[in-house]
């Protein structure tokens, strides 16, 4: 991190300055737009030269952590390396320039990639059909629950409007259920981290639309009784939704389709290594069992003989419909396609292997150093939870202090305070692309911070110390909302 402070771009602005070489020529013509439609005052955009803009945004980039610069053990987020080839070959000019409504005759190359991506995702998840159009994980969840609702409606089974979620679920699960017009019922997780099957049995009934599950769960452990869960929910007339956030853990090892799931979403920006981009774009392709095939969101790529084409409403009259203006995040899908082709069959299961090896190794190192695992009797999947409740009790430092101090050590913080059912938790996911030295360095940093908590707790609580800013006043941010720059403050 070199830059410590960078002005807001409007503070560089000077009237009359501009990056003129980037502007089009002025064309002499008579405007046909009447005056009453026209803008009177220009918008507040900066007037800067190209070099000023390039320096400004480059400096801003240097105020970020990123995978390319830092280890990012962010549980549930799968921050693995984003291969450069995936970016380069997805940005070939023909792909970038292709209009979304261009005819299939001018898209056979692109459509072939998308068709093969659908097929590979079906194979690796054990599902019967795939649609690529959802644009993020939560968007895929929406598609999945909407399909479950459409399925029950098509059978005139109208009372099924309740979605069951475990209490440790991602916040998107209950939020999605509500967006789909369902109510939410939370069920308990047992002391061993598995779902309380008796509680599930008691919860299901004629009102059950389905259950939303992550497996391995958000606790970083494999739900061992998944076959019982599937049997109970199906017997009650409900369907099973698989939240694909943790698919990386089981890639090539076990498939959601074989576990009994009816609908799944895949976070291609996690498992298939497309970039997070500072908060998006993602891609949340969905897969379904044969029960839900007719309801997949459109468009889907189909093949007639040797030709690829879009399947739309006419081909899929029961579809839940269209979720994006065109076909979703095509450029992200291309990156996922390239990544999957580079992994190939063997690479696919090596992902699960090494993600799991790295997680269990780092857990072992931290346990040996005296940190407390939330589920010490269980095998870690691709991620695991450390609870700092003892440190909080004895030393009056918390998970947030550890997280912020890790930033000073050059490590992005793990996920903190999620899942909500484990106090003072750090959810740690190293991913398969990190080397053993990096894992060791992270463990060493945790040990140093633990020592600091005993010797110099006030310094720890003031962390971070080495970043562009220290802890920010979030209360002030929410109470005195400052969401846009105002000219009177500047120039």
């Amino acid at each position: 991190m070199s830059a410590l402070r960078e002005k807001v771009i409007f503070e560089y602005s000077r009237p009359g300055r501009g990056s003129r070489d980037q502007w089009p020529e002025e064309i002499e013509h008579a405007s046909r737009i009447p005056g009453n439609f026209k803008r009177q005052a220009p918008p507040l955009l900066p007037e800067v030269g190209e070099l000023e803009a390039v320096r400004h945004f480059t400096r801003l980039s240097q105020m970020n952590f990123s995978i390319d610069t830092h280890f990012y053990p962010l549980g549930s987020c799968t921050m693995k390396y984003n291969p450069k080839a995936c970016n380069q070959y997805a940005m070939l000019p023909e792909f970038l320039g292709r209009h979304p409504l261009a005819p299939a005759s001018h898209g056979q190359g692109f459509l072939a990639c998308m068709f093969e991506l659908q097929e590979m995702l079906k194979e690796v998840t054990g599902m019967q059909g795939v649609s690529l159009s959802p644009m993020a994980g939560a968007h895929g969840e929406f598609a999945g629950v909407a399909m479950i609702r459409a399925y029950h409606r098509a059978r005139a089974d109208l009372a099924r409007t309740e979605i069951i979620v475990p209490e440790a679920a991602h916040g998107t699960n209950p939020a999605t259920a509500m967006m789909c017009g369902c109510s939410v019922r939370e069920i308990r997780v047992g002391a061993d981290g598995d779902i309380d099957v008796a509680a599930l049995q008691a919860a299901v009934g004629p009102h059950t639309a389905g259950i939303m599950l992550t497996n391995p769960s958000t606790l970083g452990i494999f739900e061992r009784r998944i076959e019982d869960v599937a049997r109970i929910v199906h017997a009650a007339g409900g369907l099973l939704y698989y939240d694909g956030a943790n698919l990386n853990a089981i890639l090539g090892k076990v498939r959601p389709g074989d576990m009994g799931f009816d609908a799944i979403h895949m976070n291609l920006h996690k498992t298939f290594s497309t970039p997070h981009g500072g908060g998006g774009p993602g891609a949340g392709a969905v897969g379904v069992s044969s029960r839900l095939l007719p309801f997949l969101p459109i468009p889907i790529v189909g093949r007639d003989g040797e030709r690829y084409r879009w399947l739309e409403e006419a081909d899929m009259p029961q579809s839940i419909g269209r979720l994006s203006a065109f076909m979703g995040n095509a450029g992200v899908l291309l990156r996922a396609y390239i990544y999957m082709r580079m992994l190939g069959r063997t690479g696919m299961s090596e992902v699960g292997d090494y993600a799991t090896l790295n997680a269990n190794y780092l857990l072992t190192r931290l346990k040996q150093a005296g940190f407390e695992a939330a589920y010490p009797q269980r095998r870690a999947s691709h991620e695991f939870i450390i609870t700092l409740k003892r440190e909080a009790r004895e030393l009056d430092v918390n998970a947030m202090d550890f997280a912020k101090r890790l930033l000073d050590h050059g490590f992005h913080a793990p996920t903190t305070y999620f899942p909500l059912i484990v106090p003072e938790c750090l959810l740690i996911e190293p991913t398969e692309t990190e080397s053993r030295e990096v894992l060791d360095a992270f463990a060493d940093a945790m040990i140093r911070i633990e020592r600091e908590a005993r010797e110099e707790p006030e310094y720890l609580k003031g962390a971070p110390h080495n970043l562009p800013v220290r802890r920010l006043d979030d209360v002030r941010a929410a109470k005195q909302l400052d969401l846009t720059w105002k000219p009177k403050e500047g120039v």
């Binding site: 610069t69 409504l101 998006g280 969101p297 069959r345």
Partner: protein, 457 residues
Amino acid sequence: MAFIPHTEAEVAEMLAAIGVASIDQLFDEIPASLRVRSLAGIPDAMNEMQIGKLMSARAQTDGRPLCFIGAGAYEHHIPAAVWAVATRGEFYSAYTPYQAEASQGTLQVIYEYQTMMASLTGMEVANASLYDGASALAEACLMAVRANRKSKAQRVLVPKSVHPHYRKVASATAGNQAVRFEEVAYSAAEGRTLASTLARFDGQDITALVIQQPNFFGVLEDVDALTDWARARNILIIAVVNPISLALLKPPGQWGAGGADIVVGEGQPLGVPLCSGGPYFGFMTTRMAHVRQMPGRLVGRTVDVSGRDGFTLTLQAREQHIRRARATSNICTNQGLLVTAATIYMSLMGPQGLARVARASHARACELSGALTRVPGVRNVFPSPYFHEFVVALDRPVAPVLQRLADRGILAGFDLAEHYPELGHALLVCATETKTSAEIERYANALGDVMKAARAA
């Protein structure tokens, strides 16, 4: 091994430290009956050189035709600096800025973006973006239901002149929450929505009215009259706008006497490549009074413990990771990388450059309209003012004509037959600043040839 750095010796040491004999043993909690036996459908791995050849061949198959299609995605010149900077690893491979101290770059970019979008649309506040323009409209309709406390009906009026895909996405998304969408007819003579058509809703409980400017036909709606009609009846106004056009056209915040309430649109024209439909970004701006009903992320400026200015995500109590089932939306993402590109684009363009792009696009569209309507058998459909897109009618079915032009490397527009059969053989065409006079002439000449050949056949 694909992007896995471990040596065999390291694997052995790591397994020994864990206390297991093999990697496979780490999966011993998974029931054996569920373990994958083969992935026969996944092809063999390719190295970087092999995948490079494959992708280049596929790209060449698609070619680079001359494109006059708009219909919600627009080709504009993208300065080289935009993606050279946006694809820096520190932007490209960063996560969501939840750890604010380690994400000041991304957060400040979003704050600058919010400032630019709010001003461009003439509103007070912008969020950090949504998936795309169509899904942003869906979210705006749900937001209007929350924000309009005077309305109980959950009814949203949507003119038929709004992009047909947007209408479909809105109903697929909001339909499950019992929001009712009602179509408003457009004037067949003018290609726009008339305030007089809305009179049949007088006295009814309506939650919101959607107004797209320019509308799907490229035509400029009488936004002042429509806005005033809605405001007088406590109906919220949701504007759907093209951001490039706003350098030239009145911003929604100034429509009519009171302005629009929620503004959304497709951000793609601001420096994002066409790329078969995505990733793009949807923008959303509104009045400060509605900020707590807004979905999606927001960045605010605040101070750190030592009094230094800094940026952070704020008002997160609206969002799913805090509020769970009671969140304003299930959305987590913003299209961060695209917002980064758009912020760089708007910075390079500035107010003057953006206005020049808008004027040049309008000029090329006028030139194209003149050239096409001189072709025998082609006529202009709507006499109304337009921005950079317009409808022409042919004297014969559009689809075969389009296919013949495509065979000659020209994508001549979007066939309206499926969505607007009442318009006959109608074609939606677009020109932006990227089109030269020579290219417009090439299109018009080719169209003339194809029409002539069709008449002769």
